[in-house]
């Protein structure tokens, strides 16, 4: 079933000095439960696309459909995660996690119970009264994920959520987040510039051109090994082939 559909999306940014075309004629369909990565040269308009899907930016042309309904403003079906965790330093982990519920006036027993369950399941229960400052980068990112999941979105938009972490933590957190997301059965669109990360996480990798972003190729990722996890698939024989294909497609030169 098609969960999300981007139809002919174009975005133009205007400044006094002129206009910049960030995205041009972008078409994409995402199946329910799919994990999609967008890779492309930096500054190509990947994040802009996420902002359009989230309903934060109005496209100059085209429409976004979720479950066949047009999106014009931020929707409850979508959760957004940023490069930084953006936990509020003045709130405890628990207070941070209930933020979305608090804003939408949904602090009822049922939702809080679910949260408590998630905190427990994902190992943050004993840290719930800590301040973000007291947690490691990986735990903070996990807390940010639970904050997003608290509103029970169907689709997660991840804007380079691992980039701010150091390499080792990043591998561990990727594994961690992947398991949580698969567990909760979410549909994901993630933006990254890390080719390995994209291959290790996605069902499909969407390769974008330089600005204005257009789809160059969509690569289906299949591994011969069973019960894939982001760490395990890095050892799969197909991994380096996918890497080479994407690397060539991206056509990156040092200028």
């Amino acid at each position: 079933m098609v969960k999300l559909k981007a139809e002919n999306i174009s975005v133009i940014y205007h400044t006094l000095d002129g206009e910049t075309e960030a995205i041009k004629d972008f078409n994409l369909e995402v199946e329910e439960g799919e994990f999609i990565c967008l890779v492309g040269p930096s500054g190509c308009g990947k994040s802009t696309f996420l902002n359009v899907v989230a309903g934060l930016i109005k496209p100059s042309k085209g429409k976004i459909y979720i479950d066949n309904e047009v999106i014009t403003k931020p929707s409850n079906k979508i959760g957004y995660m940023f490069q930084k965790d953006h936990l509020f330093e003045w709130r405890t982990i628990y207070k941070n996690i209930i933020l979305g519920l608090e804003i939408q006036n949904k602090l009822n027993n049922e939702n809080l119970k679910k949260l408590e369950y998630m905190l427990d399941k994902y190992g943050l229960l004993s840290f719930k009264n800590y301040y973000p400052r007291q947690l490691s980068g990986g735990m903070r990112q996990r807390a940010a994920l639970i904050r997003t999941l608290a509103l029970n979105p169907d689709i997660l938009l991840l804007d380079e959520p691992l980039t701010a972490l150091d390499y080792q933590t990043r591998l561990a957190v990727a594994d961690d987040i992947y398991k949580i997301i698969k567990n909760e059965g979410k549909t994901v669109i993630m933006v990254t510039h890390d080719i390995s990360e994209a291959i290790s996480l996605s069902d499909r990798v969407v390769i974008l051109s330089k600005r204005p972003a257009q789809i160059k190729n969509i690569l289906k990722i299949n591994f011969s090994i069973k019960n894939r996890t982001p760490i395990k698939v890095r050892e799969a024989p197909e991994f380096k082939d996918y890497f080479n294909i994407i690397w060539k497609e991206l056509d990156i030169h040092v200028e």
Partner: protein
Amino acid sequence: MLNEAKIFSKEHEIYIKNIKRKKMLILFTQISILIILFALWEILANLKIIDPFLVSQPSRMIKFLIKLYNNGELFKHIFVTCYETIIGFILGTVIGTIIAIILWWWDFLSQVLEPYLVVLNALPKIALGPIIIFWVGNGKTAIIIIALMISLIVTIISVHSGFKEVDEDKIKLLKTFGASKFQILKYVVLPSSIPTIISALKINVGLSWVGVIVGEFLVAKEGLGFLIIFGGQVAQLDMVMLSIIILSIAAYLMYAFVASLEDKFLGWKN
């Protein structure tokens, strides 16, 4: 994990002890300086090396203090000045923050008013003293308004610029939750600006004292500023010096109170 009692090594105990000892030494030196200063002042004045008519001396100040206390005027003067300062300080901070919120809410207005704020900020507010006295009369109201004027513009400018420095992504995060503008203000903009607001408070404490004392110089018939200017006019340096010392203590206490707010509201930082 954090609250567990721990058994420390010998080295750590010595480390803690050294830090405590250093703190005590600093406090001891600070108090000693004060005592020596006053003792020297008293002795030099008694030996007529310095002229007590020009610089007064601690024993005369104490005598004057007792006299003021006995005729019931001491607390009246202190109270009047503190009252004016606290009211001016609170009004300056509250009104300034409210105006900053309005400017954040309505960007058009903030851009229109920007040059006016710059001019008002650069203007020495004391220059408006005579106009204020002309409008509201000779009295406490005029003094409070002068104190308010001095801290208001600084508050507006610093708090508003604090609001504008709030992380755009944090605001975006709230928008993805479907937050209204008021919720963005309540959940992100105000709480993340609390450090800015508290540092504005600290500056305002000092500015309010300036406003009140200058205001009292201009119009008052009571208050510490009045005692200072009156003492100068009648060549009563005991009165002037004593008032300045009381003023210092009051200003310090008020600053300490504001600083304690910092610990209360920024507890999450430690």
